[in-house]
Amino acid sequence: MNSGALKEILKVEFLSFTKEEIENIMDEELEKSPEEMDTELIEMCLDILTGKPKEKADEVLTDSPAVSDKTVKKIKFKKGILVAAIIALFITVSVPVGAKIFDINVPESILKIYEEYFQLNLDGETQSEDLDTILACYDLDSLILPRFLFLDCKISEFEKVIDEYKTQISFKYVSKEQKMSGDVILNIFKQNMNFLDREMKVNDQYEEAKRITVNGINVIVFKKGREVYILYSVTGTEYNIMLYGVTIDEAVEIASTL
């Protein structure tokens, strides 16, 4: 089998059929023995035939050998191999018009009003540029980050934003020798959210990608232009570190210091 052709096949996500064809696919599947039957396929066909709105697939427990995994959309990190490494980058940016509408006269360093949430900095604006100090101030000591951020960098624009699903931490950094700079975004999801349920997608074109395992953590490193991204997740927290002005190999070395 030609590996070039295989690569093309493995990129296919959808194929188009008429309803009659979909019904035939379903009926054919129902004719199979339990060992061969693909119940997930039957359910996907029924979704279309019954006009179920397109939404994230429900988790489907299947146990026939034809479908050995629980759901196609579950993302598993197993044995150092990222089988489906697709990560969505969220940045909520909105204009703080709320303060004007409600005539609130509070400095933005204390209260920022966004469209769907507000951010209250009761700790007071920290003047520190040291990541250790800042994280301690926000009670975020347990984060897993590359060593260089703690040793060699000045931190600025630190933000902690809480919404109904997660706490998002973001900040900028510049290395003390001015050789490296970039952004860090972390999403710490709430306890009741099943991290594996969420769909993550790479939406951008990346030129190069590498994957490594560091202390059991699966890490992906992407290069896009002059930006390199280090992406990983650890028990409910997604980490997205953007580095500017480094090569992908340098980023891999940085990632290995987690």
């Binding site: 690569k7 493995l10 959808f14 696919i25 054919e28 066909c45 191999i81």
Partner: protein
């Protein structure tokens, strides 16, 4: 999955709770004009499941086993009532509107290096049936059109499309398992 180490009652209950909504949806679709018959089939499927478990019938894949039971009951009912296709939301067989059916097992193929794809191609070939290998050859290596393949395989274009879908899904499942087992 083999049934062992669990009280039969609890097992029956768990399996039925998991599967009843799916079986209900199937029966209501396939017997949309005969709701009483649909309810009978749902009840009968539950009864067959309970009987099988309490009589220690070996059931290796319970979820697909339950679907197979319901599917057979529906087929018998069609014969008995002398009906053919019933559809909850009727549509014309000739309706050309296309709908996307997900192949599944998606992942970012950019993260799989070429040498692994090579290894997978060697691993996968013996796992495919002869007609699947033939179809693979026609579609992906010879790059023939569905119409041309239909002629070569003495089939219809629609049937070839459906077989191609199954082949694609199978290959994606196989590579996912291959990568997970590395």
């Amino acid at each position: 999955m083999e049934i062992k180490g669990s009280s039969k009652h609890e097992l029956c209950k768990r399996l039925w709770l998991e599967n009843e909504p799916k079986i209900r949806r199937l029966c209501e679709y396939k017997l949309s004009s005969h709701p009483d018959e649909a309810e009978d089939i749902i009840a009968e499927t539950a009864l067959i499941l309970w009987t099988a478990i309490f009589e220690d019938t070996p059931i290796k894949y319970p979820n697909s086993w339950i679907y197979a039971v319901a599917g057979n009951l529906i087929k018998k009912k069609y014969t008995e009532l002398k009906i053919s296709k019933e559809r909850k939301i009727p549509f014309d067989d000739k309706d050309p509107e296309m709908h996307e059916l997900a192949v599944g097992y998606d992942y970012d193929s950019r993260l799989v290096p070429d040498d692994l794809i090579e290894r997978f191609s060697v691993h996968a070939e013996p796992l495919l049936k002869d007609d699947e290998k033939q179809l693979y050859q026609y579609v992906y290596e010879d790059k023939l059109k569905m119409k041309e393949i239909a002629v070569l395989m003495s089939s219809t274009e629609s049937a070839v499309k459906q077989r191609n879908y199954r082949l694609t899904r199978t290959l994606k499942r196989l590579i996912k398992e291959f990568l997970e087992n590395l």
